[in-house]
């Protein structure tokens, strides 16, 4: 009886030991353990020599009969999973995120985000396909392809170095610049249905984004300090509107590129309190001629509180961004500013509440925004229900006030399938 049970567990033990021996070729475990799962690596397993050929055949016949009686998978040892199984294959992580919304506006909708609902009715905010994997030990590739009603857009596609010396990291390709906090994130990670007005006004509907390269450095300090610098194309109405924008004037010198610099700091104040503070700036040419240039400066603050030991994973976060922009134009200089502050309370894994206040200054006869002469304020409240980690239903109401006042109501649904990468803090 004892011999029989030994035989029966042999395949299991063998499979369990295989990865161990693959990862650790040198040494078997210190001692042959008593429990089956802790059997020594396969190579060292003593063959069950006491069994005769007849016994083995009888056993095999019995096992085969059992296998025929049951679904064959039941007898499969975890060998196919030895290298991670279905999760360990070499396919990249692929996920698909659907954002769709129903919106009602009682006045002219003056949204600035390309993924925002823009009119009363249903909206396909985006269908985002995220694909990511390490290319080799040196590079990681990430791509965000966005399918809209009228086509496909390569929103982001960039490589990131994994093992550059001196704590440096390089990103190259098409990417969202790391100006501020919200710019580099996707609608999936936002706390509101729409993008802050100031981001749309200063950067464009898609945020600050472009083809280029970025170098960042992690400082060897007791707290987190990261310096980021990137050079990207200064053109695109969607994503560099304060610079060349819709008029691509080409690149004749390094001064025709858009430069972004950022300093990111993080302070773990305690196990429960976190504080992130960033400073950002952008410099590049604008399309008003005479070598005129634009600059944007911003600061961002993020305070996060997560009480330890709260089983509901409750947390509260405050996020504030303020931006200042100056543009050289024929005959002078245009200056304006804007910002937002938002407070989000995650009550439990299913419920979240949020409030946001925004202020964006206007300029009379702004060549870029001729209709934006007024100072606009917008106040937004949202309540979100997460049936699971992979779906959410968000109800949002807002009041935008300037020369005209517009009330807006939105109900947005988001669904996520596939293997989606984690988000940064």
């Amino acid at each position: 009886m004892r011999r029989l049970s030994l035989i029966a567990i042999a395949p299991l033990a063998l499979a369990a030991a295989l990865p161990a021996s693959a990862a650790v070729p040198a040494e078997p475990p210190a001692e042959a353990p008593a429990e089956p799962p802790a059997a020594p690596p396969a190579a060292d397993a003593p063959p069950p020599i006491e069994l005769t050929r007849e016994e083995l055949e009888a056993l095999e016949a019995g096992l085969n009969a059992d296998a025929a009686a049951r679904p064959p998978v039941d007898d499969t040892p975890p060998a196919p999973h030895a290298h991670g199984g279905p999760v360990g294959n070499s396919n990249p992580d692929i996920s698909l995120i659907l954002d769709t919304a129903l919106a009602v506006f009682d006045g002219p909708p003056r949204q600035t985000g390309a993924h925002d609902p823009q009119a009363t009715g249903f909206a396909l905010q985006q269908l985002e396909m995220h694909i990511a994997a390490n290319a080799d030990p040196y590079f990681r590739l990430e791509a965000n392809l966005v399918f809209a009603e009228f086509g496909v857009e390569v929103e982001e596609a960039y490589g990131t170095t994994l093992a550059m010396p001196a704590d440096l990291q390089l990103r190259a390709g098409q990417f969202l610049t790391r100006f501020g906090r919200i710019n580099a994130s996707h609608p999936h990670a936002w706390s509101f249905v729409d993008q802050p007005l100031v981001n749309g006004k200063f950067f464009g509907g898609e945020g600050s984004r472009g083809l280029g390269a970025e170098l960042s450095w992690l400082a060897a300090l007791p707290w987190y300090v990261e310096l980021v610098g990137s050079a990207t194309h200064a053109s695109g109405a969607c994503c560099a509107r304060s610079f060349f924008g819709a008029d691509d004037l080409g690149i004749e010198s390094p001064g025709d590129l858009l430069y972004t610099a950022a300093l990111k700091q993080f302070f773990a104040l305690s196990n429960e309190w976190s504080l992130a503070w960033g400073l950002s700036s952008q410099h590049g040419p604008n399309a008003s001629g005479n070598g005129n240039r634009s600059e944007i400066y911003g600061t961002d603050l993020f305070i996060h509180y997560r009480p330890a030991g709260n089983a509901d994973r409750a947390c509260v976060s405050l996020q504030v961004e303020a931006l200042y922009r100056t543009r050289q134009v024929p005959g002078g200089r245009l200056e304006d500013f804007g910002g937002y502050g938002q407070l989000v309370w995650t009550i439990d894994p299913n419920w979240e509440l949020g409030a946001r206040y925004e202020y964006v200054a206007g300029i009379d006869d702004d060549p870029l925004d001729p209709d934006w002469g007024d100072d606009r304020q917008r106040t937004t409240l949202q309540a979100t229900f997460y049936p699971s980690h992979f779906s959410r239903l968000r109800l949002q109401g807002s009041r935008a006030a300037g020369d005209e006042t517009t009330w807006a109501g939105m109900l947005a649904l988001e669904l996520l399938i596939g293997a989606h990468g984690a988000h940064s803090f």
């Binding site: 990865p19 429990e35 093992a163 700091q265 984690a422 803090f425």
Partner: protein
């Protein structure tokens, strides 16, 4: 400082942005004392893995755990300060089986440390060396709840799994730091013996209980390895499906099952909500056994498991 800065000036605005950092750097360099460097810098994702690594590495390693015991290992806040130990690490010990998939990968990339990238010599995946339970036998669909396609990842509550991890981890440490190989091997063999003795003793202790007494309800499907080790029978879980919050209909079903089978004990980790479990045990006159979410600071792995075994035994024999 001034002379050093002058040739660096790229653009006045960029300097403006960089200035606080440079100031901070100078201050910090002056303020930080020279920290004595251990031979091997180890970062473990979970407190239990850190505790195991400490047993093997002893005085030759510095071990940092990324997740505190109070946080559900599925949902750890990826705070950027966690990037700092990862940046300096020689060895990253992860649980694997996608347990950390929701928070670890961006930290790993941002660490700018080639040694600890997936597949690197300094990347140790504990799930690759343990016997796995709960490996799905059919296609996994998210409608089933939070199923890990590679198998149930919660093996750190089983000292037999810890033995397998410790043996493989010792070999990895020997490979990365051959100068201390004798110490690593000696520590690993002592730890293995202690684990084996402990595992057998507890098995015998729980085997003395009747089959009736050994029936329990778990909150989340995270205790299958613990139950497998101690011979406990999981009659139901409070969650209808892994990661899906309990529904009234399901909880009612669990209650009637508990009454029917005379089950008095609900077992769960501290980081899951406890109200439903408390209600259930109150209605059957039983008890909730709340397990710490990992080896608490200052405790050793075996002390942690001993505490769990004692609490379970006390509840089952009340």
């Amino acid at each position: 400082m001034e002379t050093a800065l002058r040739p660096l000036v790229p653009a006045p605005s960029a300097l403006l942005t960089a200035l606080p950092a440079l100031l901070a750097a100078t201050l910090a360099l002056l303020a930080t004392p020279n920290i004595a460097r251990a031979d091997l810098q180890v970062v473990a994702t979970l407190p239990d893995l850190a505790a195991i690594a400490r047993e093997i590495g002893g005085e030759h390693v510095t071990v940092t755990a990324l997740a505190p015991p109070s946080q559900d290992p599925h949902y750890v806040d990826p705070r950027p300060n966690l990037i700092l130990p990862l940046n300096r690490a020689d060895l990253l010990v992860v649980n694997g089986l996608e347990l950390e998939v929701g928070w670890l990968p961006p930290l790993q990339v941002a660490a700018r440390n080639g040694r600890i990238q997936t597949g690197g010599e300094g990347y140790f995946d504990a799930s690759a060396v343990v016997r796995r339970l709960g490996v799905p036998q059919s296609k996994v669909d998210r409608a089933m709840g939070d199923i890990h396609p590679g198998g149930n990842p919660h093996f750190l509550l089983d000292p037999r799994a810890a033995r397998q991890i410790a043996a493989a981890l010792a070999n990895r440490m020997v490979k990365l730091d051959p100068s201390n190989s004798a110490a690593y091997r000696a520590n690993a063999s002592a730890f293995d013996e202690a684990l084996a003795t402990f595992a057998r003793a507890q098995q015998a202790r729980f085997a003395a209980l009747s089959a009736e007494q050994r029936r329990v309800v778990a909150y989340h499907a995270s205790l299958v390895y613990l139950f497998d080790w101690l011979g406990l029978i999981e009659a139901e879980t409070v969650e209808p499906r892994p990661g899906i919050a309990p529904t009234p209909a399901h909880v009612a079903r669990v209650l009637s099952l508990m009454k029917q089978q005379g089950i008095r004990v609900v077992v769960q980790e501290a980081y899951y909500p406890q109200k439903t479990s408390q209600t259930l045990t109150r209605l059957v006159g039983g008890r909730v056994v709340v397990l710490p979410g990992g080896t608490p600071d200052g405790k050793r792995y075996l002390q942690h498991l001993q505490g769990i075994a004692d609490a379970l035994h006390a509840a089952l024999t009340q």
